[in-house]
């Protein structure tokens, strides 16, 4: 923790993964110029190799949590979300290469923007300084806007990008306003310093309204990133319009990053060692607010998903609903609740990456993501379809899948934190979600479709889908692997 004792080079070494990722992004950008934009495969391989290197550096990174450069926290919590991001980016790169709607020339910016978005995530999950958090968030957002509109000739893609920019700009403004109020109330931008600020505690005893306004505005910014109600309006349109690999990135990596920053915010502000008692007490009210948002978000997401005919739109609403489930863990405001939320995010990684990969696969087969086009395709593409059924079971939250175990953990922690009503709402929601997830399985296996010739699809893509499907079953039987990791990641709370 003693920053003065660390040499400059030691501090640089601590952020080696970030620096490497930055380097890889720039190398890809220059390599694109060098090859005149004609060698997309090379760029993809460069990016994946770079990501593997970053992952290896992260994997080797362990030991005591420390703060370098006065505001970058290097700890296990950040490491969890950074490895999550690297792992999702590798899969997304795989999807980009297999995206039939994307020609593989002139895609240098695609890889550069994805890697830069990853860099934004790296910084936003590893700081308690609101300035750095905001910059990381903006870097992620900026890349996402451009990526959503990457298919330039495509009107829906352009519309998606435009909506994303407008909503994003608004929510960034709201969040910055909240941050400025928090700075005005405490005189610092660091969350840990805020958490034991005497002036903030005095203010809370006097009147909590100004503090509530500030914190709610900041949480609104996070709610936008994780697409929680009422900041979810952009989600279906952007998910539908953006190129499918980008949708996957937004649904998995970007959402997890939002949760990472939210959990860090709540943890540092209300739950660290040495937090002022009045402020810790106030955290319970914020928890109650989050519980309310969670209930509305999951209900809204599931009910809207029921009547969708586009697979991508359906998964968009489903991802809104899943944000609601994860919020149970955040609303619990306990270390165990956070742990459950992180476990669920790990489960979410397998099920949603897998589901979107399947969407990409059938887009290549049928040319669209309409649900009705899937009719009768199950027997023709047995491997992918069986994997899809496993993923759907997991998304619904039935055994024997990670979705079930993750929900089980969240529900247990929810009940422990006294949120029985929320857990009941979530359980009812899971029943509702059964209807729309199984419409997909029904279309694949039980309905007759038109006789169309079997299209040969990339074997790499089906292998990837199978791996993700297998992962979503495997970790149901080996939950400890993730649990140990998630538990170790809570070192940010101190002690």
């Amino acid at each position: 923790m003693d920053a003065a004792a660390q040499s400059y080079s030691a501090q640089l070494a601590a952020i080696a993964p970030e620096l490497t990722l930055l380097g890889v992004a720039l190398v890809v950008l220059v390599a694109d110029l060098w090859t005149k934009g004609k060698d997309g495969k090379l760029l993809a391989w460069l990016s994946v190799a770079g990501l593997v290197l970053v992952g290896a550096l992260l994997y080797g990174q362990s030991g005591e949590p420390k703060t370098v450069f006065a505001m970058v926290d290097i700890d296990q919590f950040g490491r969890f979300f950074k490895l999550f991001t690297v792992a999702s980016l590798v899969v997304v790169m795989g999807l980009v290469v297999n995206d039939r709607q994307q020609r593989l020339d002139d895609v240098g910016e695609y890889f550069f923007l994805l890697l830069s978005a990853g860099l934004g995530v790296f910084f936003m999950v590893s700081t308690t300084n609101l300035l750095l958090l905001m910059l990381g968030l903006e870097l992620l957002s900026l890349c996402s806007y451009a990526l959503a509109g990457f298919h330039k000739g495509n009107m829906t893609s352009a519309e998606a990008s435009m909506k994303y920019v407008v909503f994003g700009g608004l929510s960034a403004g709201i969040m910055l306003y909240g941050i400025s109020l928090m700075y005005g109330l405490t005189g610092t931008l660091d969350l840990v310093e805020m958490s034991n600020s005497a002036t903030l505690a005095a203010q809370l005893s006097e009147s909590p309204v100004p503090v509530a306004v500030a914190i709610v505005l900041v949480i609104a910014g996070f709610a936008y990133k994780i697409s929680a109600v009422p900041f979810h309006f952009w989600t279906p349109d952007v998910y539908e319009g953006a190129p499918t690999p980008v949708t996957t990135f937004l649904a998995v990596a970007s959402k997890a990053a939002g949760f990472g920053a939210l959990l860090r915010f709540l943890g540092a502000m209300f739950m660290t060692e040495g937090v002022n008692e009045v402020i810790a007490e106030y955290g319970k009210s914020i928890g109650a607010l989050l519980a309310l948002i969670a209930a509305v978000t999951m209900t809204m997401g599931n009910l809207s998903a029921l009547k969708q005919s586009s697979l991508k739109r359906m998964l968009a609403y489903s991802s809104i609903a899943h944000a609601g489930y994860v919020l149970i863990g955040a609303a619990a405001m306990t270390a165990a609740g956070f742990e459950a939320a992180m476990w669920y995010l790990a489960a979410y990684y397998f099920m949603n990456l897998g589901a979107f990969a399947v969407v990409l696969y059938f887009e290549a087969v049928t040319g669209s993501d309409k649900l009705e086009n899937l009719k009768g395709l199950g027997p023709k593409y047995p491997m992918v379809s069986v994997a899809m059924v496993a993923l759907l079971v997991s998304l619904t939250g039935l055994p024997p899948t990670v979705g079930f175990y993750g929900k089980y953990l969240l529900f247990v922690e929810g009940v422990d934190a006294g949120l029985m009503w929320l857990v009941v709402v979530a359980a009812l929601n899971s029943v509702v979600s059964l209807f729309y997830y199984f419409r997909v399985a029904k279309a694949l296996f039980l309905e007759q479709g038109e006789d169309a010739p079997t299209v040969l699809c990339s074997r790499n893509l089906s292998t990837l889908i199978l791996l993700l499907g297998a992962g979503s079953v495997y970790f149901f039987f080996a939950p400890d692997a993730i649990q140990v990791w998630a538990a170790a990641s809570l070192d940010m709370l101190g002690g």
Binding site: F69, L113, A146, K152
Partner: protein, 204 residues
């Protein structure tokens, strides 16, 4: 908005300006007058911006807001912020907005006052309630005298590059600008193959 309301609106603005100037003069002398002037510029500019139907007028009235904010920064002794405010907002962003307005077709859709009144009243009520709570209960740091103006530019420069200061956010901001540039060029660029040569048709 309604032409009939044009005169009362500007009259009210004038009265508010005079009131602010008088209040400033009475409470803090010359500094108070300056504060009243800049506050009036800021508030008046933003009110005219949402009031006027012509986008060009709205854009120009924003200049008042930006300049007023720069003036407030100056009063607080933050000269660098004041100069940056003028350079970036007045010089850059406002010019950009005006270009955007000039290059886009005019939109003269009528805005009905009655339709916005309900929402306006609700919003004003909420803002007033929260505002009274915020203004009434927060122990904002106050001082009887404004701080002495100091040159802060060199200190800002040192803080940007100090490892114990803001070097990481500074460099990350550089990365954000790079990404913005690359993304903007990608979205705006057309490939040579997309462009049709008008002379080719003539030749044919």
């Amino acid at each position: 908005m309604d032409d009939k309301l044009q005169k009362p609106f500007y009259a009210a603005l004038g009265v508010i300006t005079l009131g602010l100037l008088g209040w400033g003069a009475a409470s803090a002398g010359a500094q108070g007058i300056a504060f009243g002037l800049f506050t009036a510029l800021t508030l008046g500019g933003s009110l005219i911006c949402v009031w006027e139907r012509s986008v060009v007028r709205s854009a120009f009235s924003l200049m008042g807001t930006f300049t007023g904010v720069a003036g407030l920064f100056l009063l607080l002794g933050a000269d660098f912020l004041a100069v940056a405010q003028i350079l970036i907002y007045v010089g850059g962003i406002l010019a950009l907005i005006l270009f955007g307005v000039m290059l886009s077709p005019p939109d003269l859709a009528e805005r009905k006052l009655s339709r916005v009144l309900g929402g306006l009243a609700l919003m004003l009520g909420a803002v007033a309630w929260v505002g009274s709570k915020v203004a009434g209960t927060v122990a904002w740091a106050t001082t009887d005298e404004l701080p002495e103006p100091t040159t802060k530019v060199d200190e800002i420069g040192v803080a940007f590059l100090d490892p114990e200061g803001y070097v990481v956010p500074f460099e990350l901001a550089a990365m954000i600008l790079t990404v913005a540039l690359v993304a903007a060029v990608y979205i705006a660029r057309r490939k040579a193959s997309d462009l049709t040569d008008p002379r080719a048709e003539e030749r044919a």
